[in-house]
Symmetry: C2
Subunit: 383 residues, 2 copies
């Protein structure tokens, strides 16, 4: 199979990542932070070491402020639901994923906040000026994804961070598509809350997310339970990270994340170069096929190759690519409805080939041939 669905989940996991999970399953099967015996402590130390590595990767100020929820969605929910100010306003963008839009619109539906959605510019990204125009005296947070999971557009995080700092607004960044590929530094970029999907760009395992918090962020817990601390109290403790982590942590996935960060730091520069070359090649060749429309943001070469084929819906095209060519891409709306409304692709959806650094030019050529055949068939009305 040719796996071009790395934005859904990183397709091939590095051996070191799989080995780390295996070792944890076999030799570290204890509950970290619960019992005082040596194996539990060892598991706890692995978890803490992973917090430290994640903090370093993200430019986060404090390992204790690196939280491990189930996934990036839960990270974003923890940030959004835990910071809500009743009667306040949140400014966000049409490029957001439903993991940001749905909690925000739920809060709006409940009458607790208002949500302002900023549309992207010609280059596919939102501008800091548009965000500035949307902010009102009631605004307490700006929530922006770093890299769009539909167009690959890269938000101007530096500028938005500076603006938020100046205006004392909480700045939440959805790094689902960027951490591992892109460079983020919470401290330098004035990011207050950064949510990560480690199974994507970091090629870690599904089953753990990251929420990294800046030094001044106070979140109310939204999940309550055993923390292994202050067990005499029937209330959630205030100390981080326990305040925002209830119940048993996923040790194997955290062990894998630890290895994935190490692997990523060694290989990131080279992976970015490969991704850039492959993306540039596909984005040069695809438009030469009649009937193809590109939706990747202009001059964006981060692996996101988004397009439609005249005459065929994105889901149907993906089914043909899978069943007849064994190529894995994703069609439909990619859980990001507002950007499709903006692009006019709510009906057709978009075919998204999301490349990984393991993909090759040979695979790209085979993919181009497949798309050419499908587009040709559609134009000529034969199968």
């Amino acid at each position: 199979m040719i796996y071009f669905d790395n934005s859904a989940t990183g397709g091939v996991k590095p051996d070191g990542v799989i080995n780390a999970a295996q070792n944890a399953m076999r030799f570290l099967s204890a509950n970290p932070g619960r019992s005082g015996h040596s194996l539990s402590l060892k598991a706890g130390m692995l978890v803490y070491d992973t917090r430290k590595k994640a903090a370093q990767l993200l430019g986060a100020p404090d390992p204790e402020r690196v939280i491990f929820p189930l996934n990036c969605t839960q990270a974003l929910n923890t940030a959004i639901l835990g910071s809500v100010i009743s009667g306040g306003n949140v400014v966000t963008t049409a490029n957001e994923h439903n993991s940001v839009l749905r909690p925000l619109f739920e809060l709006q539906r409940a009458g607790r906040i208002t949500v302002s959605v900023v549309s992207p510019e010609q280059n596919g990204a939102v501008s800091v000026q548009a965000i500035e125009r949307a902010v009102t005296p009631r605004t307490y947070m700006v929530a922006v994804n770093h890299i769009s999971n539909v167009t690959g557009a890269v938000a101007p995080i530096d500028e938005i961070g500076k603006f938020c700092r100046k205006r004392k607004l909480l700045f939440l960044v959805d790094g689902a598509q960027s951490v591992g590929y892109g460079e983020l530094d919470m401290t330098e970029q004035n990011i207050d809350m950064l949510a990560v999907a480690p199974h994507k760009g970091l090629r870690a395992l599904q089953g753990v997310g990251i929420l990294a918090l800046g030094p001044d962020v106070q979140l109310r817990p939204t999940l309550f339970g055993g923390t292994g601390t202050q067990s005499e109290s029937v209330f959630q403790p205030d100390e981080l990270p326990e305040a925002l982590e209830a119940g048993t942590l996923p040790t194997p996935a955290i062990a894998a994340l630890n290895a994935a960060i190490t692997h990523n730091q060694k290989t990131r520069a080279e992976s970015r170069r490969k991704l850039r070359e492959l993306s540039a090649y596909l984005l040069e060749m695809l438009p030469r096929i009649a009937g193809i429309h590109i939706y990747t943001a202009p001059e964006t070469y981060n692996g996101m190759v988004s397009f439609t084929i005249d005459g065929i819906g994105s889901m149907d095209a993906c089914n043909i690519l899978s069943s007849q060519y064994d190529i894995a891409v994703r069609g439909g709306l990619h859980c990001a409805p507002l950007v499709h409304r903006h692009l006019g692709t709510l009906q057709s959806g978009i075919i998204r080939a999301s490349l990984g650094s393991e993909n090759t030019f040979g695979e790209a050529d085979f993919f181009l041939r497949a798309v050419r055949e499908i587009a040709h068939t559609e134009r000529n009305g034969t199968l």
Copy 2:
């Protein structure tokens, strides 16, 4: 190491469980329920098959009503926060874990509900009569753990279920310590919501919980995000299981759970027999040591061996057992404060040896010798 901490996490995972996770990491690295390509569909089928197996294991009516949260704590939070009726009352027990107590007391602190706590009887378990006495016209839910994680006491689920059905009360069962060891059947026992910690009795991996729902239960989502369904909407869909599952599922942990259920069904009867024998042996021998007080519920042989040693706190005793004998047990309060208040052990805590079916009589004898030496040292004041 002698691992007697199976109630914190099942210590040794069956090879089949580890292999299933490995296979998922290597050969099923796609996002289930997201893309339409063959690998994503295959991952989706594995998830659905696991829902089916879990439904069968638990006597749940419908695989679509088997939800996979991060852990049992999140399962309990989803049940408790998603079913809250403002102005209502919940009846629960002093045997509960903080994963039930903390969300309930948080709701009480917010003024949304009142919480009534029923104390256990002489046999360590709550009685249906005591629950009946606590129920008021405002009561909408009864929340009971099946097996206490401190005393091993087994709640009379059958009777409580019948009572709840008769009075049209939601019946929530915390099966963290029981599923895998004990027998539960949601349909026969009138359980509306059953929360499971698969990494404990089922010896699956950390990183996935189960919340199984009866046919009539309607929960409001507490987590919002991408579901791969109704992506055009900025609101969480109503259909189960997606309504209660936002974001990427942990495929490797779910694959492991699938294998763990199969393994458990083959080995459960034999495991129970072994656990019963080992527990009975320890609970017969331990009280012969001077200075030992047993807190395991009377005639309870499900692997939970709870005790104190005169003159030494439970945490200190556990540290000695770990550092000098390489025995892993847990001290302290085990995230269950109210049962310790009831037992008068809030200060000392309790030493809990929680056995697994892989443990042996040889390990039990070594453990007895270690406890004898520690108790003897304490009595004679020398080290």
